[in-house]
Structure formats: structure tokens, C-alpha cells
Amino acid sequence: MLKGYKGRLLHIDLTRERSNVVQIPEEILRKYIGGRGLGAKLYWDLIPAKADPLGPENIMFILSGPVGGTITPGAGKHVIVTKSPASKGWLDTYSSGRMTPEMKFAGFDGLVITGKAKYPVYVLIKDEKVEIRDAGHLWGKGSFEVEAYIKETFHPECGEICIGPAGENLVNFACINSEFFRQAGRGGAGAVMGSKNLKLLAVKGSGGIQVAHLQRLLDLVLKHHAKFKVSPIGIARHRYGTPLTYNITHAAGMLPTRNFKTGRFERGLGKIDKDGVYHATISTRACYSCPFLACSKFTEVKDGVYQGAKLEGPEYETIGLLGSNLEIESLPFIIKANYLCDDLGMDTISAGNVIGFVMECFEKGILTKKETEGLDLRFGNHQEAITLLERIAYRKGFGSFCAQGVRAMAKSLDRGAEDFAMESKGLEFPAYDPRAGWGTSITYSVTPRGGCHRRAWPPMREVLGGVYPFTTEGKAKMVKELMDDNCVMHSLLVCDFQGKFIPLDTSEFAEYLNAVTGLNYSAKDLYERADIIETLIRRINLREGFTAEDDHLPRRILEESLPEGPPEGKVIGQKNFLKMRNEYYLVRGWDNQGIPTHETLSKYKYDEEPPIKL
């Protein structure tokens, strides 16, 4: 057996209140690596096509990667793979904390959660022992109280995931929390967990992880730590964290402002950017197995209406969507709203999009105070935004309408609202306007989970790398390369940031994989696997009924221009968009409808794989 892996999954059937161990064939681990890749294989084999995302037939896979739990930089990530209530298709959503190491110490590469409990429960896993307990006393509680409870009553160093009230109430963008302030935020995985009546899951293991070449692993970590210590990128990241991105995207004209109507927010400079957050920072925190960045910032509101609010964050995405996108330059509001989202269990990216969409509808008269039940939801009105967040989580009145997410809201409202509903496949956009760098339009459209910045981050090339942003030339190939880089990282399950800030490339990640597992993979081997994985995920969505029509963007992005900065006056246009999209299909080995060709399927021999059975 390969080192690093455990070669086993723990299956917990909530309907039958039973558990069993599932073996993973070594050839599957060699082919799919782990994390996202293993999740693709499991989804394909085990989630029935057209399953109701919120029905008992949906499955949650909580997975580690081969280097997880070791000293590999940034190896404290886990991924939750399931069918998304937002997109009705593939979802992979990532977080960090102790889940991955503790699952491995308990003897498993991951957990498989099937069925639905008869009543609210929580699950405790201690090595191979599984207990399903009544969660009546936890149901309705905020995430922080639940996390504190389990750390105090089970084990202070357990791995744990839980949902807040939004997950219980099946909010379309409910997240899954871990390790206080860490979220698998995107795509509504929290609603899937809520639909299973599962409030909390915790795991503690007493074993270890065998590493094939320990000295090689130590040497790699020391070498890269030395490299990081003199890297100006790493030093700045440690100092400012992700809010530094605000200053770049503002300058480039890609910062979402007024529901993506404009791309710059001058009023936010010095208040909600790197300097604003830096001055509010009281301490920093690193993730498990990150001796490098400690890029997370604890902030505190010292006075005013939100005095006393404290938070690990806010991160850039939250600042973009709950700040500039709502035309709110109040950092205290963002800290408070971020805290509420975390505690109630909602994704801040989607929540910010939903409120921005509502504010634009309010401005256009599509929504009035009658529909919003008295809420004066003009851009900039932060106090009303706070009230709306709470109503969404508890599905109170108008809040329940908003809990559906932007796509369903726009469809229901009609009157042209779909033109400015900032989503793709039902997943609301992150904080980068594709009109300021056209590669992002491919990413947001073809990404299997919907509008997503973690499949690939084209601003790395189009803003920071000197690739001309306003052309179609070379963009499909560029996006594929970026996606394959991230697919490798998300299958090894390491943090994206190590690769960019130490920095490390795919051949260096291969060295970590080889040192831990005993494999002898090159960067080329890993890229081939990335293509196998992304093509299998494409097949999953096709099986769910997706077509090329689903790889689309709202009219605002394709037909309107931004009013200032570099993208001023430039329109992507349907023709350019379709050209880039078709070129992307082509470089993946898919036909012009986005269907993998016979040659591609034959090359990857999916049909020759042994199926995984529970």
C-alpha cells in the first residue's frame, strides 16, 4: 500500500444508524490522487443521477488528500463533495482545520455520509468507533456555540464540522463551518448537511501517518521555509492577509461595486482595504500545518454601533461582496455581517450577491418596501442589510425569498432581473468582474460548480502577469493551465496560497507527494490526472442534465461595459465569449457542445476502473 494514504473510507448511514469501512483500490488512488479527484470518482460511482440534492439519496463525502496531516505546507485542508442545491450538480467546497489530520489519525482517508437521520443528530468518531447522538440541545444554535461545545465535551483537538441555523433551514447558500471561522462556504453544502438532520460531526484519532521518505520531506519543508522567509510576497501576505487584493482589483477596475455595475470603489480606500483591516487587526492565526503565512487576521470593532464585534477576517471576498458591492465602506459593518454569516452558517460571497441584487431591484423599483416588509434596502444601508441577513438565515418572510439565491430570485421576479443576476449555474460570483480580465469569463462559465474563483484565478496572469486582459487570444489555454494547477493542489489538498507565496510549482508539489507516498510522479503525470479529473467532473454534470447552455454568463457581463478604469468602454460580447468557451472545450478534448469526445474517453479508460461500493 502507498504510504500517506489509509486506503479506507468510513461510511456512516444515518438512516440505518450503521457504519462500515470501505476499501479504496490502490489503482484508484494512483489515478485520482485524493481530495477533489477521489471525490469525482466517488460522486460518479455513488450519487444517483438526478438525485434530489436535499433528499436522503444525496451523499456527502468529506475527504483528505495524500499529504494531509503531514508537515507538507498547507496540508490542513479538507474538501466536501456532494450534489449542490444551488447548481443541482457537482459541488466541491473546501475548508481547513483538523478534519483531515484527525480523519487520518483515525485510520481513514475520508468519510461518506448517506441517508437521513430521523431526528437532529450529531456524530462522534473516535478511531473506528462511531456514535450517533441526539442533537436536540444543539439544534437552532449558532455555529460558534456548537463548536465550543464539542471542543469542550469531546476533545479540544478534535476535527469537527457543523452547521448553523441557515443549514438547518436549508438556505441555498448555507455553509459548513470548521475550526471556528473556517467555512466550506460555496454551493450550499450546509443545506445538504441540514437536510440529513446532521448538526455536527467530530472526529478524533489516536494513530499516525506513515511517510515513505521522511528525511526528504523534512528537507523539502526546510528548503521552502528558507525560500519563503526572504520572499517579499510572503512577507506582505503575512502582514496584510487577503485584504491586500482590494487595492489591486480596485486599480484594475474589477472590484465588484453596486452589484457589479462598476469596478472601482474609491470611498473604500483606507477604510476597507489593506490599511483598513491592518489597523483593525489585533492578532493573526495560521491554519493547521502552515508554518509560513499565518495570513488570517483577527479584527475587532472598537467603537460605534457595532462596537465589540470580533472576527477572524474579513477576507477579501467578503470585503468585496458585503462592502463595495453594497456600496458600504464601513469596516465595522463588514466585521459584524461576516460574524453573523459565520455564526448563522451562510456563505458571505453569496450573501453579499443576494443583498446586492436586492438593492439593485429596490433601486429599479422591481422590489419595494411592500415586498421587503418595510426594509429600506438602498445601496449603502448597512443596518437594513444586517436585518436581512438574519431574516434569510431563519427564512422569515422576505428572507425566505432571498434564501433561494440570486438565480431563483431573478427567475421569479422576471422584469429583466436575470440580466443583472450575478451567477452562473446558480452559484453567485466572487469578487472579480470578468469584464476587467476576460479569462475570468471562461472560468465563471465553464467551472462545474458555477461562478467560482477557486477553479482558476486568471487575474494572476491578466492583471499581475502582464497578459493583455481584453482579448480572447490564448485565454482558453491559459485558463486550462491555471485550472490544472489548482486541480492538482485541490487533489493533493494543499492550500492555494503556499503555491503562490512560497512560491511552489507543480513539480515541487510532486516532490512532496512522492516523499509522502513513495510514488514517483512528475508534474506531467499530475497534469494528466488533472485532465482526467476535470473530464470526469464534466461527465458528472452532463449526466445530471447540464448542457453547453449552462456554461453561460448574465447579460450585464457579456453586453455592458464598465464605466471606469482599464475596462472602460470594453464589451466582451457574445461572439467573443462563445469563441473562448469553444476553445476551452477544444483544449480539454471535448466537442463544441462541451461533451468529451470518444477519443478523450478512450484515452482515460474510465470504463476499466473498478467501481467503489459502500
Binding site: 520572499s231 517579499p232 510576497i233 506582505a236 501576505r237 502582514r239 496584510y240 487577503t242 485584504p243 491586500l244 487584493t245 487595492n247 489591486i248 486599480a251 484594475a252 477596475g253 489593506k274 490599511d275 477576507e315 477579501y316 471576498e317 470585503i319 468585496g320 466572487p430 469578487a431 472579480y432 474563483h453 477557486r454 484565478w457 487575474p459 494572476m460 492583471v463 499581475l464 502577469g465 502582464g466 497578459v467 493583455y468 486582459p469 492555494d496 496560497f497 503562490k500 507565496f501 478604469g565 482599464p566
Partner: protein, 99 residues
């Protein structure tokens, strides 16, 4: 504008030049000037610490990015030879990676 000065360029930083330009802002005044010329002016004005933080072997230090009115200087046709105009804004930043 004072006599002999035909342009003012605003320089700001994001995560870069933290020692040589601690307040993160500067104004460079002059007559015709290119991006490269402006970098040299910054070094003349702020001394060897600026040179160390800004350049390596005469080129922009690895890990830094230079945006001219929001556009990466490497995306501009004339790159570092681009002539600056009055009111132009330069952002010298550290490479970031999303959020």
C-alpha cells in the same frame, strides 16, 4: 502647476516598498518622463533603500507588479518605455493571490 513642471504622477503602493516609502504614497513631478524614468526618480529621491526594495539587477524586483492607471506595465505596448501623462497613477504592489 509650477514653471518647468509639465506633469504630476501619483505613486501609491500595496504591500511593497514598506521601508523606503512607509506612508505608501508619493507624487513625482517633472517634464516628459517614462515609467523607467519614474522608477529612477524614485530611487534618486528616496535613496539606496528604495533601490533595494524596487529593483534587482536593474529590473523590477521579482514579486512586484507595476500598474499604470490599473494596467500592468507589461501589457502596455511600450512597457517600461511608456510615456507618462499628467495625472497618471502608478500602483507598485506585491503579487497577491485572491482572497
Amino acid at each position: 502647476m509650477r514653471k518647468g513642471i509639465s506633469l504630476k504622477v501619483k505613486v501609491s503602493t500595496a504591500g511593497a516598498l514598506t521601508k523606503s516609502l512607509p506612508n505608501g504614497q508619493d507624487i513625482i513631478e517633472g517634464e516628459t518622463i517614462t515609467v523607467q524614468g519614474l522608477l529612477e526618480r524614485l530611487i534618486t529621491k528616496h535613496g539606496p533603500l528604495m533601490a533595494k526594495e524596487l529593483l534587482h539587477q536593474g529590473k523590477l524586483r521579482e514579486g512586484l507588479v507595476l500598474l499604470v492607471n490599473g494596467m500592468n506595465v507589461l501589457s502596455l505596448p511600450e512597457k517600461f518605455d511608456t510615456l507618462l501623462k499628467d495625472g497618471d497613477e502608478l500602483l507598485i504592489a506585491i503579487i497577491v493571490a485572491g482572497g
